[in-house]
Amino acid sequence: MKFLVCISNVPDTTTKITFTPDNKELNKAGVQFVINPWDEYALTRAIELKEKLGGNVTVLNVGEADTEPNIRKALAIGADDAIRVNAKPTDAFFVAQQIAAAAKEGGYDIILMGKESIDYNGFQVHGMVGELLGIPTVAPAIKLDVEGNTATLEREIEGGKEIVEVATPFVVSCQEPMCEPRIPNMRGIMTARTKPLKVVEPTGEAARTQVTAFALPPKKQGVKLIPAESAGDLIKLLRNEAKVI
């Protein structure tokens, strides 16, 4: 079974977000980039399934050369080989076209992604890739099992879950508690250095959206403290001042 795992390269979850003086780009100074946390679920689950069913796990990132340390990290965790589409990922549709092109070329059975990329929070690349390839997308999935060429998934919906069965090929976006994400071990780190990482040039149409400016949320006024002895006063404030109850 051939697995394709798509990873995005995002600021570490503890990053304090700031922007360049023109507010057009993220200020990358001092920011540590990591594999998108949700994509770690996709990667680990693909490796687990490969261990069970046999096959090959390819990781793919659409990004410039500075994403390679995280691609190597994915190889160290256990992917077999990697593809980097050499382009600045300017929007979800642009990224989706690159993934779809690579998927067509490689003939993968299951394309795994994260639920969403924690930088642009699009929650859309998986649906676009499914549509571009004319195959189903199951998003977001909390469980993925494969038997022959049929997969059984649990898809999270508002207020519950659906049990879905699909035949390969398909796209799935993963989130916890699908598996326990793995971290690289020493042997993995050593072997990752020599695993193949192919760099390809982008194809397809230009992005359909363009960010013109970023802004930080308005600052809070500061907290109003109510003494614990008169905790009940809080409820009055919520009704009469904040008007939320």
Partner: protein, 325 residues
Amino acid sequence: MSVLVVVECDNGEVKKSSLEVASYGSQVAQMLGTTATAVAVGEATEANLATLGEQGISKVLHDNDSRLKDFVNGAYTKLIAAAAQQESAQIIVLANSNIGAAVGSRLSVRLQASLATNVVELPKMDGGQFVVKRGAFSGKAFSDVILSGERKIIAVKKNSMEPLHNAGQTATVEQFSAQLTDADFADAPKQVIMQEQAGGILLPEADKVVSGGRGMKGPENWNLIEDLAKALGAATACSKPVSDVDWRPHHEHVGQTGITVSPNLYIACGISGAIQHLAGVNSSKVIVVINKDPEAPFFKAADYGIVGDVFDVLPKLTQAVKELN
């Protein structure tokens, strides 16, 4: 040219988030000098769909194919694409829900439309460009985004629009058939399992949330959270470590790696306020923090706070709500 809004229904009722979507869509239509039509998905009743008139919707398309009751990505996408075609819709508005985003992303490819998810405000026309504001970096920032091309799809973040109240206005409900075939239901769910909702309130749709962290000490103390939630008509939620150790079910976990909520009121009990937790809740309108540590980082993100022991404070709050009601 027109605006098409996608309304999700559940048990015959239009979801609250879809009322917001309808309100958004009709206001965009007004800006552009056109009308807004709705297309319904899920289990809808005609009487309820007609009330979308209050949201400025003139007409609702309804396909009463019973297979559409549960979410099926293929069928929903085809239905909405057919409705968009019939109405010559240039703008499609849907909820930024698991359904809305899944359908919106497929539609954007099929209809060659530009797409923005997580949108928090009405669009601006800026020098001939169509610009929307959306949440980015997990609630830590916003971005203005130009949507280019003839067709645009907008997924509106929950609780970022007020529903309208055009009392007495009704929408006409029209039967609509997208001629769906069995093939469109290939990804239909085999089974749908709904969770037990504390007090029957769905967390992603809730406008009040009472949430507990490790400071609650153990699952046996959650009755304190549930009692307050019940008195307020709120949903319950928790921090990640709490669901990791199974004190609470995974679907209650909010934050960067859980679900994002944006209620009017978020009450955090015994939660320290780690940056990953804040990412999932910081667009709540009013945040209340109860923590015995005055240095807990959550107080910096709060509107109201009580420095105290949750075991002492929570019963007092529940009592005060009961007295108020």
